[in-house]
Amino acid sequence: MKLKLKKFSDLRKRKDGRAAAVSAPVPSRWRCGPEPSRRRSDAGRGHAAPFLPPGRPTRPGSAHTGRFALGSSPSRVLARAPGRPTTAGGTAFPGVRARGWVKAAKMAQKRRLAEDAGGPRGPTPGSQRAALYVHWPYCEKRCSYCNFNKYIPRGVDEAAMRRCLVTEAQTLLQLSGVRRVESVFFGGGTPSLASPHTVAAVLEAVAQATHLPADSEVTLEANPTSAPSSRLAAFRAAGVNRLSIGLQSLDDTELQLLGRTHSASDALQMLAEARRHFPGRVSVDLMLGLPAQHVGPWLGQLQKLLHHCDDHVSLYQLSLERGTALFTQVQQGSLPAPDPELAAEMYQEGRAVLREAGFRQYEVSNFARNGALSTHNWTYWQCGQYLGVGPGAHGRFIPQGAGGHTREARIQTLEPDNWMKEVMLFGHGTRKRIPLGELALLEEVLAMGLRTDVGITHQHWQRFEPQLTLWDVFVADKEVQELLEQGLLLLDHRGLRCSWEGLAVLDSMLPTLLSRLQEAWQQRTPSPVPGG
């Protein structure tokens, strides 16, 4: 571990790879963008060639670069420097391997993410790839709006927590039979409060257990106060290559209302630091629709943020969650209830401002320029597999390692101490497993996919449902037709997606679309297996 930390300076000197990945600001995806999805004729096959979006540099041998050949095989292959194919059958030395991964990751940061993260990007079939979410459950302080699974600890036994995260990651990776982890996301809680050592340990465990490509997106959520420059460098050395900053507001009064520990200037300072360490790979969150917030001043904040931000912004409308301090205050009348009309206006204006600034709204709340989409989050909306590690983490994958064939929604034990006990006893803290039927999965494909600008392409849909096409399901329905006529929904040769206006009211359309899907599913030619 220490060996690795010495490499900080080395890492910092790395060449900025942004130039390689620049793609022109994306034309509006809502109406007239080019077919963003895969154009390869072999699309949808199990071993499709890597999907390479336009503008992405192709390097010889990249398909096999820096990959371990087999996930659970005892004779795994070491990570090698990119550009050189590896051969199977090498002997594994844990320390060396870890170092190898960080080194590879360093090189990979030169590459940019796929502008369109839509299809499978490697030769690995969907069921053998997954994203990995790691939950760090602790926070310094409770924010007034947050109902996430988080705890304000008296003292964290970080070593124990680290061991458990590593153990559970190993167990679940093995259980899933996943051969390739394409992204890792450290969320929370406040994962920037964890030590970089913990982050490194988890990443190394993943790299040991399976193939973690050197260019995998590794995101860490960070609070402006919990990550000074030195820590950022340490996180980067540990393998983090993307930072998501919970900036929330540039108004100190609002930050106070939200129960945040930082000021607006803290946030901007942190943002600048972060951009030095992770150029082109820093995201910031900005909230809208707060009690007593007005459109003009909020747009002012957004404009100011645009002067400082990197290539990724998330705009989140506040939702008052039961059990939060803010909810109680509004309930008791000590705070005005947020005005949904104003929030809607902020959202619409905000989207327009970001579009002007060259950002692509690739999802309801997420905006990126220069192709800086989050591949990890994209996996959620494309219904890719993901593993959830840590207290209360959610996962969705086929437990192939245990002989499973059905995707499961899995939830880990919520409370950290109980979760740790279970991990120590059983190797994992999975509390709940819900098998997802074919229809349930299709419903998720629909509900999640429509959150994105590309929506659901015909190819994407076909991967989940080879028989019923999107046309079959939706074209003849009267209510769907109304949505199409109103210009809220688009169904064409590319697929099914929301229009610019439709995206803002997606949740009003989903019940119509889902009930149509259920109907079509029931009417389809019955499969030989009843109820299958």
């Binding site: 809607a344 983490a393 419903e443 989903l510």
Partner: protein
């Protein structure tokens, strides 16, 4: 030591409690040590044991007519009627003297919960007085204004009444009404004054708690109420004055014998249906059913005769012996429903279950009228007629509690009439004057000479300080004053003619709240009067919502239209387009509300941990969508209708 002592103590107490219970039940058990006072002193006769004892049939011939008294207790709500009944039952050994005897005759869960009597109940009391054994048949009656019908039904089997008045509250509107009911039936009236838990009866104090001196009430019943004028020798003539439905035994008819004798095995005929039945069981109610060999003229009891259909035991019907026909007794004035409401199963698949529940319940409560009805939003259902609002509420509650049925009940309306002018309509209805119980069938003004609305004569008794406010309230309800007089130094009795629709929903509540609960109210039917009625339509984006059509007085149309629009606005979810909610009289819009279109409705954060929750919510919404009623392009969830239509009692 301490722990041990504690444990010992606990065990000891538990044992004592167990022993007490065992002794009460008459179960064999370890004999409690003589020192265990609590158990040894338990002298309460065991109820189930003694009732098993009584299962041996009683010879009712021991009670000649001159030793029989049939009486009722009538009172205003909460004046202690049921409590007095409990004490009388205890005194005569019909029930145990335990602290648990609270309103024994109030058998229904709703009665005990609300502390009101809804259903008349009968109990035969055996009482020794001056060397003779008397049979005292007590018929407990409801005290609420809605149930005067039950009271009058019970009274026809009685020769006298105990009129209970609470000493603190004095005479109330209901007391007056009940007195007149008894008076008209030419019954002997014995006034009993109840002061909280103390009864004053003819200057002698009675402690209701200890049960001493309640005897004097029984003695007065014997002395002052005449025996029934009947003849055992005549052929059987029995009046069905009530009936209940037992899931296993079918119809249990409560009968009062005016002539003759009836016993098991007799063949009897219903004068109403002319159907013949064989009597399976006769008995008295004590207060639970207790079989007897026979029932004799003058006695009150029950009869089970294989009547399976709910319509076979008509209240007011006369039963006689096969081949011994008699002149039927004058049937009771049938109850006249004053309030109508639509009733629908929450889920249409529950329709048949609800249907059978309503049928069974209406046998127990024949004052409810049932008409089939259907609504576009709520599906197939019924339009039920009730005696009043409490009656409606109680009926609904009984459906839920006794039959586990959950229902949607629409806003109550009153039966309007229309005098038709259109020859075509007259031909269609086959009469000139029609009664409209469903507002959707309200005929257009162009086809009608005039509309009529039901009116009632209301009696309000109030302390005089509230008179001003009450007069204002009555005027706001279109009422016409008929009389106003002091009934004592500071109480006033007001008589008003009310349009019934002005008092069905919330009049009683308003009256109670503006008089701090002191004013009492009762009403009686007063026929119909001409009224300027209008049909109020509710429109969503220009389309009429049929289930929200209401009939209102012209003067109230604006207020009613506005109120419905506002309520609908609050319960309609926003949609992808703007919704205009309008109230209209014909083509004239009189009120409008707008539900704005959604500008943003999409979950902000939807990542790995949010998907399960989001999909669950979507599943609910998608399922809910299937239950939506579409009015034009507007989707209206059923609960929006329910919120608008639901009674606000």
């Amino acid at each position: 030591m301490w722990t041990l002592a504690g444990q010992g103590c606990w065990r000891g107490r538990a044992l004592a409690a167990w022993a007490t219970r065992a002794a009460r039940r008459g179960l064999p058990g370890p004999r409690p040590a003589p020192t265990r006072g609590a158990a040894a002193e338990s002298k309460a006769p065991d109820r189930s044991y003694s009732s098993a004892d009584r299962k041996e049939t009683i010879d009712m011939s021991r009670f000649p007519v001159e030793n029989t008294r049939n009486f009722s207790i009538i009172a205003h709500v909460d004046h202690g009627k049921s409590t007095l009944a409990d004490r009388l039952l205890e005194l005569t050994g019909a029930i145990d003297k335990t602290k648990n005897n609270k309103q024994v005759l109030d058998k229904l869960q709703v009665e005990r919960e609300r502390g009101i009597t809804v259903k008349a109940q009968t109990a035969s009391l055996f009482y020794d007085y001056e060397g003779k054994q008397y049979l005292l048949n007590l018929i407990d009656t409801p005290g609420h204004v809605d149930f005067s019908y039950e009271v009058s039904r019970s009274l026809s089997a009685c020769q006298g009444v105990l009129l209970v008045v609470d000493a603190n509250e004095g005479i109330q509107a209901q007391t007056v009404a009940n007195f007149f009911l008894a008076f008209e039936a030419q019954l002997s009236v014995i006034p009993v004054i109840n002061k909280k838990t103390w009864f004053y009866f003819q200057k002698s104090q009675i402690s209701a708690k200890l049960g001493t001196n309640v005897e004097s009430v029984l003695q007065a019943v014997i002395k002052r109420i005449p025996p029934p004028k009947v003849h055992r020798k005549n052929p059987l003539r029995a009046l069905v004055f009530d009936s209940t439905f037992d899931q296993y035994r079918g119809v249990i008819a409560n009968v009062a014998l005016f002539d003759g004798v009836v016993s098991k095995g007799d063949k009897i005929v219903s004068a109403h249906t002319q159907k013949t039945y064989e009597v399976n069981e006769v008995g008295v109610l004590n207060p639970n059913e207790q079989p007897t060999h026979k029932l004799y003229a003058g006695q009150v009891g029950y009869l089970i005769a294989g009547m399976k259909d709910v319509t076979e035991a008509q209240i007011g019907d006369t039963l006689y012996l096969h081949k011994r026909p008699v002149e039927p007794l004058p049937g009771f004035k049938s109850a006249k429903p004053m309030v109508f409401a639509g009733m629908y199963p929450v889920d249409q698949s529950e329709y048949n279950n609800l249907k059978s529940a309503i049928e069974k319940l209406t046998l127990n409560d024949s004052s409810v009228t049932v008409h089939r009805d259907s609504s576009l939003a709520l599906g197939a259902g019924w339009r039920l007629g009730f005696l009043g609002l409490l009656h409606m509420e109680v009926f609904n509650q009984r459906l839920e509690q006794e039959y586990n049925a959950s229902v949607i009940l629409t806003t109550p309306t009153v039966p309007y009439k229309a005098v038709l002018s259109s020859a075509k309509l007259i031909k269609e209805y086959r009469e000139k004057e029609i009664t409209i119980i469903n507002p959707a069938q309200f005929p257009d003004k162009s086809k009608v000479t005039e509309y009529l609305e039901p009116i009632v004569l209301g009696t309000i008794i109030t302390p005089d300080e509230y008179t001003g406010k009450i007069i204002m309230l009555c005027q706001a309800r279109r009422a016409v004053q008929k009389n106003m007089m002091y009934i004592d130094q500071n109480r006033i009795m007001l008589k008003y003619l009310f349009p019934l629709n002005e008092i069905v929903v919330d009049f009683y509540d308003s009256l109670k709240s503006l008089s701090s609960g002191y004013a009492s109210f009762d009403y009686e039917d007063a026929g119909y009067q001409t009224a300027e009625l209008v049909k109020l339509d509710i429109l969503l984006n220009g389309n009429i919502v049929e289930e929200l059509v209401t009939v209102v007085h012209k003067d109230k149309a604006y207020a009613a239209g506005k109120a419905i629009c506002e309520r609908l606005k609050d319960s309609l979810p926003r949609q992808l387009f703007e919704i205009a909610i309008q109230a209209a009289l014909g083509s004239k819009i009189i009120a409008r509300e707008t539900v704005k279109a959604y500008r943003k409705n999409v979950l902000a954060k939807c990542y790995g941990g949010d998907i399960t929750r989001k999909m669950k919510l979507l599943k609910r919404q998608t399922e809910g969508k299937k239950k939506l009623r579409k009015v034009g392009n507007v989707e209206v969830p059923k609960d929006a209708f329910i919120k608008v239509l639901k009674t606000q009692i």
